[in-house]
């Protein structure tokens, strides 16, 4: 289907939603500030302190099992020093997204969504390192936010999206294809419209729009390819929205793999089997991270 038509449909869908969650302006400002060279931690801390909810979230996260400080950290500046500048971007963004999407009433289980998102973030970072992509943190964040469009479908299109999920259950149909077929647009375009509304940096908007079609991405096809592969691998190694989508892929036929191999020919020799098995081992870390962020256990299987 025509990309413009998909985008137009998504734009209308997003425009119709009055109570679309907002990302705190502070989060966007923090991201912009961190993109500047020689940024000072004090400046970031001052900005974050203007949002008490974000401050509280950051302190909760820093004292969680993920970062495991020896003593409880009670000041924001200490927290930022402890986690380091490179993690602040991630924390600012994720705490805001969690705030915006903390409601577990959608068609997708919230924990399953975040486990997939953080999983793709982690795997994107691993692949980025492997291919020599310079900004690992950017790859990580790109992975975390790539599917935000799904949250809108899951929350605001509860019925048609539920029907859609049921129609692909145990079938070899990719979710994105089913969305285009049944809804006339997909989570890629919807996510893009949301990200634009929230003033996300252009590269992130592009990843959200093009993570299923990296080849034609105008800004950062390599970043889109990294997230694309990370997404595929997570979907086959247990971080798959609780089995909502049954996908299979032949790596050699994936355009993302071709893009990355051009950049890093040594990928041809990569031990893909071992890579998969190591991802299985990492799943526990991901579920622990999500549990600590939400403070809730995985609900029982329906």
């Amino acid at each position: 289907m025509d990309r413009n038509a998909l985008m137009e449909k998504a734009r209308l869908m997003v425009a119709q939603i009055d109570d679309l969650p907002t990302i705190p302006a502070v989060a966007t400002q923090v991201l912009q500030l961190l993109d500047q060279p020689d940024v000072e931690i004090e400046a970031v801390a001052d900005l974050m302190l203007s949002d008490p909810v974000m401050t509280a979230r950051v302190l909760k996260l820093i004292n969680s099992p993920v970062f495991k400080p020896e003593h409880e950290i009670t000041s924001l500046k200490m927290a930022l020093v402890y986690m380091g500048l490179s993690h602040i971007r991630e924390v600012a963004l994720t705490t805001s997204l969690i705030e915006a999407f903390g409601d577990d009433t959608g068609a997708l289980r919230l924990n399953a969504f975040w486990e997939h998102s953080f999983g793709v973030g982690m795997v994107s970072k691993i692949i980025a390192r492997n291919v020599g992509y310079k900004d690992l943190e950017k790859a990580y964040i790109s992975g975390i936010i790539h599917d935000i469009g799904e949250v809108l479908l899951s929350t605001y299109m509860l019925e048609p999206f539920g029907t859609l999920l049921a129609s692909i259950k145990n079938r070899p149909t990719r979710l994105v294809d089913a969305e285009i077929m049944q809804l006339g647009t997909s989570h890629c375009e919807i996510g893009f419209c949301m990200a634009r509304k929230w003033n996300f940096p252009a590269a992130y908007c592009e990843v959200i729009a093009r993570h299923h079609a990296p080849a034609g991405a105008p800004l950062e096809p390599v970043l889109c390819a990294i997230v694309n592969l990370a997404d595929l691998f997570c979907c086959v190694r247990g971080l798959d929205y609780g089995g909502q989508e049954w996908i299979s892929f032949n790596l050699q036929e994936e355009e993302a793999w071709q893009i990355l191999k051009k950049l890093a020919p040594h990928l041809e020799e990569m031990d893909i089997e071992r890579f998969c098995y190591e991802l299985d081992d990492a799943i526990n870390d991901i579920t622990a991270l999500v549990t600590s962020l939400f403070g809730a256990k995985r609900p029982p299987e329906a």
Binding site: N170, R171, P172, L232, F233, C235, V236, R237, G238, D240, G243, W246, I247, S248, F249, N250, L251, Q252, D271, I272, E273, R274, C276, Y277, D280, D281, N284
Partner: protein, 275 residues
């Protein structure tokens, strides 16, 4: 005895490199308990001593004992569910489509190292279920081979214990399994699709006649072969597959570095090799 993470990783890497089998960290506890037995048997006092033994001249022999401890030889029906799902959901319809176009309505599946037959019969049950739909009017041939004549006799008999059948979905169990005095007897309807025979995978003269398979399964066997034999046997499997065929190895196994012609095809919970 608890082994340190470093020792665990070192041993895991060693087993992976030599045998092509990955030990997930969730199985660390299991590995520890089996390792203790081998350390006692060999007199190794520490994990490091044992690791040195594995790397020594006597290492190849000791590794066989260790592998015997850490791979349970028992098999059971519906053992690798992700693989079976992939076969049903994607691979089988794909193969059927290709063969339908050629007007060649015959499906051939090989369970290499079939042991007492659970894997071959599992496949038979799944295919049998499709006799009125996808595989209507198709000829189905499932071949099980093993080097051990005792297990072949068991397979032909088709009588199992409760452990073997515990994973069979209720729908299949009702249709194809009959319980009698604590034994579980397989229906002749399933048995008639499977033939069992003796075969040594090392025997080149026999291997070249195992032709035209659509799918081959060979789980938990290649891990016992050295790299050269593994390459040779896998090349036979490659040659014996139809151009659109698939080759499955066991859960946690890897053919990396063994054969560079196969392509990996991934699916939820596993992967397969495509010709």
């Amino acid at each position: 005895m608890a082994i340190s993470d470093t020792d665990f990783e070192r041993l895991r890497d060693f087993i992976y490199t030599i045998c092509g089998m990955y030990f997930h960290s969730s199985k660390k506890f299991f590995l520890e308990s089996r390792l203790v037995r081998r350390m006692e048997a060999t007199g190794a006092k520490t994990c490091s001593d044992y690791y040195q033994l594995l790397k020594s001249m006597r290492g190849a022999e000791e590794l066989k004992y260790l592998m015997d401890e850490i791979t349970t030889n028992e098999t059971y029906f519906f053992r690798n569910v992700p693989q079976l799902n992939a076969l049903e959901t994607k691979l089988l319809p794909e193969i059927v489509e290709v063969k339908n176009k050629m007007g060649f309505r015959k499906l051939r599946i090989w369970s290499a190292a079939s042991s007492s037959g659970e894997e071959a019969y599992t496949l038979a049950m799944i295919l049998l279920e499709k006799r009125t739909t996808l595989l209507k009017d198709w000829i189905i041939e499932i071949v099980g081979t093993d080097i051990n004549e005792t297990v072949i006799a068991q397979a032909k008999q088709g009588i199992y214990n409760a452990y073997s059948v515990r994973n069979i979905p209720e729908m299949y169990k009702r249709k194809y399994i009959r319980e009698e005095n604590g034994s579980f007897i397989l229906s002749p309807d399933v048995k008639k699709f499977v033939t069992f025979s003796k075969l040594n995978l090392y025997d080149d003269s026999k291997m070249i006649f195992m032709k035209t398979f659509d799918v081959i399964f060979c789980a938990n066997v290649l891990i016992y072969f050295d790299t050269a034999s593994k390459s040779k046997v896998v090349q036979h499997f490659y040659n014996n597959l139809q151009p659109y065929g698939y080759f499955f190895v066991g859960q946690s196994e890897s053919l990396h570095g063994v054969n560079d012609k196969f392509k990996t095809v991934h699916f939820p919970g596993g992967f397969t090799y495509k010709k």
